[in-house]
């Protein structure tokens, strides 16, 4: 099973993603430079965190015009799994694969801490290994992670069960005290309508080793691996 980890100039979690994925059984993850134009042969695509193009103009605004992004859109439309963490989430919103946008944190600070997120959808391609209401301890590290969407979009996200993760208190409540950055409805991660594109501000790639604080990120990658395995079994 092959994962592509896209490298933009300014990506800085590409190595974390590669190391996390290559530590998992049966997975081979490779870097794909953003100037490439093909993603043929990969089973899943990872847009890593970082500061692509220095976050100039807006986070992800320039990266979304990188040559590789046409293939990312094409593969996403064909149903391939795409995950964007942090800056990757911002790029997915900028290019329109995910609704809404990420703006400056409510308190203006860059936030670097471990947060609790609650799994809101237990049967998504990215979280089916986690029963509904499971709490995942994941690091965040961002200055522009405040998720915004207008009311109509929010209603649709809720109705279609596209809100996959919300920031929660340690005991699993969703309230303002658990919201690190001002995101509407404590949203930490959403998927597209088809359910194959997932963007989240937390870093599962930095939570893959219990000795380093948390291994909860593995649950997301493991869910992806199982989804891909199940779909290739169906195809066979």
């Amino acid at each position: 099973m092959k994962f592509a980890v896209i490298q933009f100039p300014g990506s800085n979690c590409d190595q974390d993603c590669l190391a996390a994925l290559n530590g998992m059984a049966g997975v081979k993850a490779e870097y794909v430079w953003h100037k490439n134009t093909s993603l043929t042969g990969y089973d899943a695509i990872v847009l890593p965190g970082g500061f692509s193009y220095g976050d100039y103009l807006r986070c992800g605004a320039i990266a979304r015009f990188s040559p590789i992004m046409a293939s990312v859109v094409e593969e996403a439309r064909s149903g391939k799994l795409v995950i964007g963490t942090c800056n990757g989430f911002q790029v997915l919103c900028e290019i329109g694969l995910l609704p809404g946008a990420l703006v400056r944190n409510r308190a203006l600070h860059f936030i670097c801490e471990v947060v609790t997120t609650r799994v809101e959808v237990a049967d998504s391609a990215f979280t089916h290994g986690c029963p509904q209401g499971s709490l995942l301890r994941l690091p965040i590290a961002h200055g522009e992670g405040c998720y915004f969407a207008d009311e109509a979009t929010l209603r649709e996200l809720n109705e279609r069960r596209q809100i996959i993760l919300r920031y929660a208190t340690a005991d699993g409540r969703i309230d303002a005290s658990a919201n690190p950055n001002g995101s509407v409805e404590n949203i930490a991660g959403i998927c597209n309508r088809e359910g194959n594109v997932f963007g989240l501000m937390p870093h599962p790639d930095r939570a893959c080793e219990a000795r380093l604080g948390s291994a909860d990120g593995l649950k997301i990658f493991q869910s992806m691996i199982e989804t891909i395995a199940a779909s290739s079994e169906r195809a066979a």
């Binding site: 103009l57 946008a101 703006v103 915004f148």
Partner: protein, 77 residues
């Protein structure tokens, strides 16, 4: 020719920078300041003889210079 583009956050979008500057202005002796919104201002040098300039510029304002989900833009000549 110099084209000026002003990009502003939409009213519904949280603008914590604007709020921080409003607070600072109030502290510095202007309690009458009610709200501040912070956007972006771009000056673009462009060859005015280019055909179809205005439409192409508007396309890029929409696609690159602003994000229509959170921002409005205005082209000022």
């Amino acid at each position: 020719m110099k084209v000026k583009v002003v990009v502003t956050p939409k009213a519904a979008v949280l603008d914590p920078q604007g709020a921080a500057v409003r607070d600072a202005m109030q502290h510095l002796g202007m309690p009458e300041v009610q709200a501040v919104r912070i956007g972006k201002y771009l000056e673009i040098e462009v060859d005015e003889k280019t055909p179809n300039l205005e439409a192409r510029l508007n396309d890029l304002c929409r696609d690159l210079l602003s994000n229509p989900v959170i921002e409005d833009y205005e082209v000022v000549k």
